[in-house]
Each structure stands twice: as structure tokens, then as C-alpha cells.
């Protein structure tokens, strides 16, 4: 029966961990079970390259070098101090915090990575409760395809280009950014950094990135300014809330309850034979107010200001004509 790849890789790790000398590939080929099955030098070479890549992907610190005093040439080993997770001793309340942190993510990659971390902590002797019962449970969604490439670019210190839609209503445009960090704020992800085209600090909503994120230039080229508070940059870029303006409306009795939450009843009035209330209400920006009120149809009528009444009527006329 041929040796499975998983078995070969476990044996390779054990072999390289146990060796103080750098083991040349040829020697590894002879001793680690499975490589003997390679029919040619080329087949072995392909097999070995793939295995090295697999181990490096997992974070196994595979060292390359020559052992002084041996003329065996270039070889491989794994230094135990670089491989092994250092001692870690968590009190039960600290382990509970880790358990909560590990299930914060609603994202296949990040939840998977957190789970992997917990497995290693368990293997280091830490007891992490798989089902902590929490009264308050935060969850962070991180499903935007651009997110993981951006996090990687930030950690590598590499500039990126992407196509981004500044607002849902405008066409997407290409951007080049030196990313300093990725921030989740009020349930949305942003990437913050130095926008090369504008020569200024900018943040971009990750969900509005269209298509792939590509790295440009070498790793380590991006320098984050010292002491910058990324969360503050994002929170500050939200802009001031729209100016509220007051309107006087007629609302049909017992209807328009969403709007009534913000309204004060001034009196009652009958319109078109329907009993209702006259209310005053502070509304957000003109567009939002128009949309809310038009959405209520015959249950709401704007009494003043006239501009709002006209805007609502225009919108209703458009909706009435859309099928007629």
C-alpha cells in the first residue's frame, strides 16, 4: 500500500525535528517513508517541493543551510525552539476569554484560523471550553472576499490596487493604497491607509471593492505612521449626521407607527374623510425624509414645509406612473 501524503509529511516533520544537522534532500529521500515511491529524480523533486510548500503554509519553520564540518551540501532541518509553541498557562477565566474570542468570527477563514489556534492551545494542555455560555455574545461577520487579501497586504507591508465604488450611486474607480490597517466599525469593514493618487489618508469600505485586490511593489514598503488610531480615522471619516429639519404632517389614525416613534402629536384632523393626527417631527436629511413619507402612501401627508410636500408628491407621481 502506498504511503499516504499525510503520513509522509508527519514523518518528514518528526525526522527534521529530530535532526541537529541539515539533512540534504537526497538523504531525506532515502530515509523518510514514501519518497522511495518516486519513480524518478524529477518526480521526487516535485514531490519534495510540494511537501516543503505545504509545511511552510502551515507555518512550520523549515530551515535551509549547511552543517559546518559536513560536506553533504545544502540541507533542511526544523529548529525545535522555533517549531514549538512556548509554555502557556491560562487560568480558567482566561481560557474562557479565549473561548469567547475564538467564536467571535462569522467567517470561514477567520473562524477556521481561530479554531486552529484553539486546537494548538488544547494540545499545549490548556482547557478551552468549546461551548462557553455567554450572556453577551459579540459576532463579527467577515465574509467580504477582499478582506483576507487586504489583511495579508497590511501584515506584509505591501501596497495594493483595487477598484472601489465610493458610494453605491457612483461608478467604481481604481485606487492605489498603502494600507495601514483593516478596521471593523459598526459592523462594516474598512481599509485605512495612504491613498497614493490623492496623497492623503483615506478609508475605503471593503464591501464596495469590486473584483480582486492586487499587491504592487515589494513587501515591507509600507510604513504605518507611529501612534495612529485606526478606529478613530474610520469613525472620524463618517462625516457629520445630516441636518434635521422639522416638518408638520398629517398621519392616519393608528398608522405610520415607525414615523410616530419620532413624532409629537399636536391635534387631530380629518382629511378626505379619514381621521388622523397632526404631528410635528424632526426628520433626517431631505432625501431620507422624502423616502420615508412617500413610502407611507395615503397614511401620511406633508402639511409643511412646501418643498418636502412637493418632493413627496413628485416621488408618488413617479411611483404611480411606473406601471401606468
Amino acid at each position: 500500500m502506498p504511503t499516504s501524503r499525510a503520513e509522509r509529511l508527519v514523518n518528514l516533520v518528526i525526522c527534521l525535528l529530530s535532526s541537529r544537522q541539515y539533512l540534504p534532500a537526497e538523504r531525506i529521500r532515502r530515509i523518510v517513508p514514501g519518497y522511495a515511491e518516486a519513480a524518478s529524480d524529477e518526480a521526487f523533486s516535485r514531490m519534495f517541493e510540494r511537501d516543503k510548500a505545504e509545511l511552510r503554509d502551515l507555518g512550520v519553520p523549515l530551515e535551509t543551510g549547511r552543517t559546518p564540518g559536513f560536506d553533504a551540501g545544502e540541507g533542511y532541518r526544523i529548529a525545535r525552539r522555533d517549531y514549538e509553541l512556548p509554555d502557556i498557562d491560562l487560568e480558567p477565566d482566561e481560557a474562557a476569554a479565549v473561548a469567547l474570542a475564538a467564536r467571535l468570527w462569522d467567517s470561514p477563514q477567520l473562524a477556521g484560523a481561530a479554531h486552529g489556534a484553539v486546537l494548538k492551545l488544547r494540545a499545549a494542555g490548556v482547557e478551552v471550553d468549546p461551548e462557553p455560555s455567554m450572556v453577551v455574545e459579540p459576532r463579527v461577520r467577515a465574509t467580504e472576499p477582499a478582506l483576507i487579501p487586504l489583511i495579508t497586504a497590511v501584515q506584509e507591508g505591501q501596497a495594493v490596487t483595487f477598484v472601489h465604488r465610493r458610494h453605491p450611486a457612483v461608478l467604481p474607480a481604481p485606487r492605489t493604497l498603502e494600507p495601514w490597517g483593516v478596521v471593523s466599525w459598526r459592523g462594516r469593514w474598512y481599509v485605512v491607509g495612504h491613498d497614493r493618487d490623492r496623497s492623503a489618508t483615506r478609508c475605503f469600505r471593503v464591501s464596495r471593492i469590486v473584483g480582486p485586490v492586487r499587491t504592487v511593489g515589494p513587501a515591507g514598503a509600507v510604513q504605518r505612521p507611529a501612534g495612529i488610531d485606526l478606529l478613530k480615522v474610520v469613525a472620524g471619516s463618517a462625516g457629520p449626521p445630516p441636518v434635521a429639519h422639522t416638518a408638520r404632517l398629517w398621519l392616519s389614525s393608528g398608522r405610520a407607527n415607525g414615523l410616530r416613534r419620532y413624532a409629537k402629536v399636536l391635534g387631530s384632523m380629518t382629511v378626505d374623510g379619514v381621521v388622523g393626527d397632526v404631528v410635528t417631527v424632526d426628520l433626517p436629511g431631505h432625501d431620507v425624509a422624502t423616502r420615508w413619507i412617500a413610502g407611507l402612501g395615503p397614511d401620511a401627508v406633508v402639511l409643511e414645509p412646501a418643498e418636502l410636500a412637493d418632493a413627496v408628491r413628485a416621488r408618488l407621481a413617479a411611483a404611480a406612473g411606473a406601471v401606468g
Binding site: 499525510a6 512556548p86 462569522d106 489556534a117 494540545a123 450572556v135 459576532r139 450611486a169 483593516v182 411606473a322
Partner: protein, 320 residues
């Protein structure tokens, strides 16, 4: 079949895991590693074939099975788990830091101590910041208090899908912080099921002098796939959104988005209440075209005409 990329980390962690837990039940190991007992046995059989070069009886990893338990008797040098990868350290450290910076979620003292120890072992992680704080919600303090003291609540709650405000008595279960908002998950006595209540839609809340007693079969909802799940009783609307209405596709969950000409987008959107969908579409005016269903288009047009008539009746002096 599972790829080696998923299996290898488990195989490398298993021997150290077993070393610190002599005689652990196999079922417990499988649960800890989130695999079936069958898969775990296959993993142990594989490890049994692995060991130090030489691969003789004294070189191979040795396991002893007693009943349904397992013990490592020779570890072949696999004494400690591999260090956390950068992705693993990032996922854990970023989450811990967010919990440490958000009062009222977990005990921040424990979180800070755990964070310091994890960072000492895994290294620092920069560049990813999670702000868990939600918008300010008036009901938060009372809801938190009811959870801590297990008290039932009477709430006045606004339901946007039906545009109604109703009073109900609920048995609080937990507080969810999702996508920048807080939700109370509670047993709703009127609905006789577990419901989520968005805190900024709770108009008034009173703590009752009776204990919170969700029935034993009340289970927290699985929110891992988002708060809003497709339900069979929902209808589907197909809408073409002008650029100025594309925010709809960002704000509400949609099933599908097809880019159209001039920056328009055609979306498939689920809805439970026709009245709610009529309000949304009516408010968008000329920025939306209803492709389907025709009854929705008819309802919108009819409401729009009725609204225009009423508007004229309210201001008879105005003429068009």
C-alpha cells in the same frame, strides 16, 4: 475527502494533546478536534505508523488503548504543538483585543491577562482592529440588568415589517452584538417562540418582578449565517435599482445582484410582509422598476394614486 491541509495540523497537534491527557476518552478527543470518532481512529492509526528514522518498534509513535481511552506511551519527539500561524494568531489576538476594549461583554480583566499570555506566546499582531461598540441604545442598561439578574421584561416593541408597536412579555436569554447593533434574544411569550429584538426598536422596557423562565426547549438561534435567514413563506421581488437606489442592495439582504447599464442593478430580494415591501418601493419613486411580482407593482401604483388624492384633499388650495 478532507485535504491534507486540514488533516496535517490535527495530526501534528494530536500527540502533544494526548501527552498531557493520559487515558482520555477517544470520544472526548474527537469532540475537541471537531471530527467523528471514526476519523479520529483513522488519525491515530496513521500516527501509529509514524516515528523517528529507523522506523523500528522503538522508533514509532506508540499508543495504548484501554477500553475507549487512549494514552501516548512514546511521542517520537512530538512533545509540543506547532506555534500559532500568523493567521491563527491574528484571529485570536484581534478578537481578544476587541473584547478587552469593549466594556460590558466579557470580564475585561480576564481578557487582558489572556491577551498578554497569548501575545507572549504567539507574537504581536497589528493592522486589524475590531470596534465592537454598537450605537447608543436607551434600553441597553435595563436589558443587561435583566440578563444578569434573570428577570423577565415587559417591552413595547416596534416591528418594522408590519409597522406596528406592541407590548409583550419576554424571557431574556442573551444579548447579541452583531453588525454594529445590539439584539436581545428572548423567549416571546405571545409568539411562543425565540425572537430577536433590536434594541433601538424597544420603545419602553420594564423589569418585571418575576424570573426569566424560557422553556427548556428554547434554543439560541444559530446566527452564524447572518441574522436573516431565508424562510419558505417569504416572497421574492425582482427590482431594478437606479444608481441612487443601489444602497438598498447594501442595506438589506439580497439573494442576487446583476449589474445593468448605466450603473443600475437588478436584485432578487426576499420579503415576508407585502406592506413592508410596498413602503420600501413606494419611497424609492422613480429610482426603482418592479420586475416581479406584478401584484407588487399594482399595489405600489394603487397606493401612490391614493396618496396623491389624499394629498390634494389635505391642501385643496394648491393646484397642480
Amino acid at each position: 475527502m478532507e485535504g491534507v491541509g486540514e488533516r496535517l495540523p490535527r495530526l501534528l497537534a494530536l500527540v502533544p494533546y494526548l501527552l498531557v491527557r493520559p487515558g482520555v476518552p477517544i470520544e472526548e478527543v474527537a469532540a475537541d478536534f471537531s471530527v467523528t470518532v471514526r476519523q479520529l481512529r483513522r488519525d491515530l492509526e496513521l500516527l501509529w505508523m509514524c516515528g523517528l528514522p529507523g522506523y523500528g518498534p522503538g522508533d514509532l509513535i506508540d499508543l495504548s488503548f484501554e477500553g475507549d481511552t487512549v494514552t501516548v506511551t512514546f511521542d517520537a519527539g512530538m512533545r509540543r504543538p506547532l506555534r500559532l500561524s500568523r493567521a491563527e494568531a491574528t484571529a485570536l489576538v484581534v478578537a481578544l483585543r476587541a473584547l478587552a476594549d469593549t466594556p460590558g461583554v466579557a470580564d475585561t480583566g480576564s481578557v487582558r491577562r489572556a491577551l498578554a499570555k497569548i501575545e507572549a506566546a504567539a507574537g504581536q499582531t497589528d493592522g486589524v482592529v475590531l470596534g465592537l461598540a454598537t450605537r447608543e441604545e436607551a434600553a441597553l442598561a435595563t436589558v443587561r440588568d435583566s440578563l444578569d439578574h434573570r428577570r423577565a421584561l415587559r417591552i413595547r416593541y416596534y416591528t418594522p415589517s408590519r409597522d406596528t408597536v406592541s407590548e409583550r412579555v419576554v424571557d431574556p436569554m442573551r444579548l447579541l452584538l452583531v453588525e454594529g447593533r445590539s439584539y436581545l434574544e428572548a423567549w416571546c411569550r405571545a409568539a411562543d417562540e425565540v425572537r430577536l429584538f433590536r434594541l433601538d426598536r424597544i420603545e419602553h422596557v420594564t423589569t418585571l418582578d418575576e424570573p426569566a423562565q424560557p422553556p427548556p426547549h428554547a434554543r439560541p438561534a444559530d446566527v452564524s449565517a447572518g441574522l436573516f435567514r431565508a424562510r419558505p413563506d417569504q416572497q421574492i421581488a425582482v427590482l431594478t435599482l437606479a444608481p441612487d437606489a443601489r444602497w438598498v442592495a447594501e442595506y438589506y439582504p439580497i439573494d442576487e445582484l446583476i449589474e445593468g447599464e448605466g450603473g443600475t442593478a437588478t436584485v432578487r430580494m426576499r420579503y415576508a410582509e407585502t406592506d413592508w415591501m410596498v413602503r420600501l418601493v413606494l419611497g424609492l419613486g422613480a429610482d426603482v422598476i418592479i420586475r416581479d411580482p406584478p401584484e407588487l407593482a399594482a399595489a405600489v401604483a394603487q397606493r401612490a394614486l391614493a396618496a396623491l388624492r389624499r394629498s390634494s384633499a389635505a391642501a385643496p388650495s394648491q393646484t397642480d
